[in-house]
Symmetry: C2
Amino acid sequence: MSLTISIDAMGGDFGTSVTLPASLACLSANPDLSLIMVGDQVILNELLAQALVDFQDRLVIQHASERVEMDDSPTKALKNKKDSSMRVAINLVRDGRADACVSAGNTGALMATARFVLKMIPGVDRPAIISTLPSIYGHTHVLDLGANVDCTAEHLFQFAIMGSELVKAVEGLENPTVGLLNIGEEDVKGNEQVKAAAQLLKESNLNYIGYVEGNSLNAGHIKVDLIVADGFVGNVALKSIEGAAKMFSSALKEAFGKNSLTKLIALLAYPVLKSFKQRLDPRLYNGASFLGLRGLVIKSHGGADALAFETAIHLAEVEVRKDVIRKISEKIETTLAKREQP
Amino acid sequence: MSLTISIDAMGGDFGTSVTLPASLACLSANPDLSLIMVGDQVILNELLAQALVDFQDRLVIQHASERVEMDDSPTKALKNKKDSSMRVAINLVRDGRADACVSAGNTGALMATARFVLKMIPGVDRPAIISTLPSIYGHTHVLDLGANVDCTAEHLFQFAIMGSELVKAVEGLENPTVGLLNIGEEDVKGNEQVKAAAQLLKESNLNYIGYVEGNSLNAGHIKVDLIVADGFVGNVALKSIEGAAKMFSSALKEAFGKNSLTKLIALLAYPVLKSFKQRLDPRLYNGASFLGLRGLVIKSHGGADALAFETAIHLAEVEVRKDVIRKISEKIETTLAKREQP
């Protein structure tokens, strides 16, 4: 199945130095893939001169005269940068010229622009950000990771429906398990929104398994396919895990770098430490999807390197192939229809 | 300075098999310390027969006929177990017979009982749970870790005042830095409560440094002495870090346990891995303080082993010596007086 993805070539902390090599690697890996590189055409034409020959009509440049900076406010990006590489890349999805868009640009601006350009799926109140985290069972999908600071029970319920549909499609799971992030597993625990969301989930036909705690993101006592949280809690949890990872690798480095003997041991242990590092390499988990929109937008980490950005493009490929947006839209529609029945 | 601590000897997942050896180790380490062991006197008299001789009047048994189970609700503990080891240990603090109490019993029951028996410091609306987490800078104090699922800006502000006073006393810091946990560092980020709390903190004389993100708990770009969050967010962050730690050590074990060669390397690397493990040993961070009460209660992790429970008793010793409760009470009083001025 051939597919086309638009790339915000100028986005992220490192712009073209990351987006171009990652894009070319994806083109080499997948002969069915076409890419539209969006950005300054003078720069892109020069940097991609050889690639344009190599990949022929699978690689196209689309000019955009502006760039959304990492600290631009959503409003500024939306109102004053209508010809940004980010905006134009999203426009291509709206216009049906691309099946998905990938950007490492700033989250707020990307979400606001995507929402404005692509519009919401009818029936969905709020968009949400979903991504995967490594876990002792493989990995776990988590949403919302920061799009919504305040969520009602209904919002959380809609996140669960959308997330479950994505996990179903992407993982090929019949009936993914859904957990609600809380501060305890007992029914009495949590705030009002979470308790009310639990009630909605219990009454739904989702495979709801109950409350899960923060440790379930990486290492709970059972495998959970999807964990639902409001964007404030989800974002803090995600970043807490990032901080913990950094502290662990720093302490490991410190222990092995203490003196010449420990350094020698590190040399001997190198292959083991490398395989450990690879298992949890955050670059292999890069890429978050915006759910609730009528088009597919994948957000890469702003500081992603080429390998990480490649992962985000691969994620877009998978979600296009699995027709995630259509499946979510249909699921939302049938869920709503069912609720409207007497 | 001599001091007395009451120990809920029957509390926690492992009861006396953990609380007794930890208590005896503390008595050996500190000749100024006296302990009142609270629990079934028949059991305690038998298990402590030799210790009662060794430590003479520094070790006393106080009978309590009941035990709060780990899954007892706060209401059940409070209403139906008035002679529990937990309740009696807290009563000793109220009656001035102990300077602090340490329990590994269930958090909800312990908080409800402590609040009921000891009462709140006048002016404090809600109690909070504070503990320390390891960080690349040493460690960070964090509250609230789960006492309050919903917090107003005023609650968060009071947590900051109490926490700052504790950090000042315990760490000997003149003016500890205070960060507010949020999903970004920019002013526009966050929910209404956090934004309003930021305003209160800016206007206060606390050393408020602004918003911090989840990664700051373990490895932010600057050192933060105290991080303030509502109990839902703080609890999820804490447990997310616990899960990440578990995943990391499990992946490390897996990498070193793969085959006989990697196992040999593990043997060679043993001292390095051990020093790494010790640096982040969660048992050395065990013990959370309940702030806002008119007496000192330290909560140990329910699953604590003897070393971890010892850490919790040491924490109680430090906070008694540093007169934390009195300092917090005075600070709250002067802050309130200042606010009431025209």
